[in-house]
Symmetry: C2
């Protein structure tokens, strides 16, 4: 039976460390601030945002929610972002996705000042990460790398297969694993014989949004399996990995819930402090 | 015996098309200009630059060489780039690498205006490419993709293994193949059992700078083998692929010289026109 990688516990450790940093800075009168922009009333988004705000509170970040109506114009949203970019008290700006279809997500992402882009989605940050310059990485892959480190899972020289090629998870995950000296394969919907490829992997990261896609037949005995999926099936949260059948084969596995999700939120806090320190020239 | 992919001929076709475009624009009084900046007297660099200038001439691009002494200060070079960025007659700026060690290549790359960055090395262009927005891709991988298209080598659903992870070839190559729906594996110096991985590949791209690294044992019968290597061995140009033993096994293969090299130069010309059209709002 696989070792269960307890994302909740690791996230709590990260949060504790962030809390210690914010407390130390508070003593010097410095308060980092995360501003979340929520457009409309998408119920899942509202839940995510509440969760982020609660965690920000817990780790000692000032946090502000800007809640705009679902029919807000793109121009009004952009003006709001301009205001936040100019506000010297704001360290991190997060615009909760998805946005209503009349607003271009790409235009919005590119409007956020790269030095306040806690999600690491701005092309300038993506490009710096890509070429190996230090920038903020998207929170989900960053959280997974942090977990590997804390759980002493050495990725150097290992074969990692990433299933899914989103800009938010799959592609940056591949680049982070590569930077850590893993051999990396990127699979996706057009991949032929996925199981044959994932079976060669020492590390499998599943990030496609298909409940139970990764079965026992996809996994080499002893492999590390990371499940990024967050699929609602009959009101129940399910990952991309068929946990019950994969757990007995894998060497280590993240559960859903309680795996990657909490890590993502914890990294958002860590990214905010990192950006705040950089912008305010603190070490 | 593999089909030989004649990079020289494909490059000539691309050059011909660029020539037709520049001729058409000339009729409207528009002359695109490529400016090459060469620092010092590195003999290989001088050869590359001469070759680029000659090709630019041939395809009807105005081309200017700015040759600075090897001990030029970084500030003077940056001031020169600023001048070129501001010059409305300049469509593409190429700073020949490598630069002398007292100059930061990254600082120089980031100083070139992204809209004149014919090499596609600026982080903003790398980031746009990474997230799937249309930007200029580095010339070598762009030339290889162009060759695949012209030689009717369909990469969608194929397993492509890229050996080498440079910012100039390996990483952008992987991203271009991914965008064209290939399943992509990135290998490098830390990869364990390279041959086992490349043997699973439908397409192998070798870009490491190790003469003869890819042998018959690395290649699946019928695979497409692309050799980016340009290694001087006893005064002779050799690729990363042991051509004599791989050619009988492969389905198609690029020779060295006469393969990827001419494609890279041709794409530099195509990129210059593309940037010129975009900047001057021409279609």
């Amino acid at each position: 039976m696989a070792r269960i990688l307890d994302g909740k516990q690791i996230a709590a450790d990260i949060q504790q460390e962030v809390r210690e940093r914010t407390t130390a800075f508070e003593a010097s009168g410095i308060h980092f601030q995360l501003t979340v922009v929520l457009v409309g009333d998408h119920p899942a988004s509202a839940t995510y945002v509440r969760n982020k705000q609660r965690t920000a509170e817990k780790v000692g970040l000032k946090n502000t929610l800007i809640h705009l109506p679902g029919d807000v114009s793109e121009d009004t949203l952009l003006a709001e972002i301009d205001r936040l970019n100019a506000d010297t008290e704001v360290d991190g700006i997060l615009v909760q996705l998805p946005l209503p279809s009349h607003i271009s997500e790409q235009v919005v992402i590119e409007r956020i000042a790269p030095e306040k882009d806690v999600d690491g989605f701005h092309p300038m940050n993506a490009g710096k990460n890509f070429v190996g310059l230090s920038a903020v990485w998207p929170c989900t892959p960053a959280g997974i790398m942090e977990m590997f480190e804390r759980e002493q899972i050495d990725v150097a020289g290992k074969h990692a297969v990433v299933v899914g090629r989103s800009n938010i998870v799959g592609k940056p995950m591949a680049m982070m694993l590569l930077a850590a000296n893993a051999t990396v394969t990127l699979c996706h919907s057009r991949t032929q014989d996925l199981a044959a490829l994932t079976r060669t992997a020492d590390i499998v990261v599943a990030a496609v949004g298909q409940p139970g896609l990764i079965t026992a037949a996809h996994v080499k005995p002893g492999a590390v399996v990371v499940d990024v999926g967050m699929n609602r099936v009959d009101g129940k949260l399910m990952g991309d990995v068929a946990f019950e059948e994969v757990a007995p084969i894998a060497g280590a596995i993240t559960p859903v819930p309680g795996g990657v999700g909490p890590l993502t939120v914890a990294m958002l806090m860590k990214n905010t402090v990192r950006l705040g320190c950089a912008r305010r020239h603190l070490s």
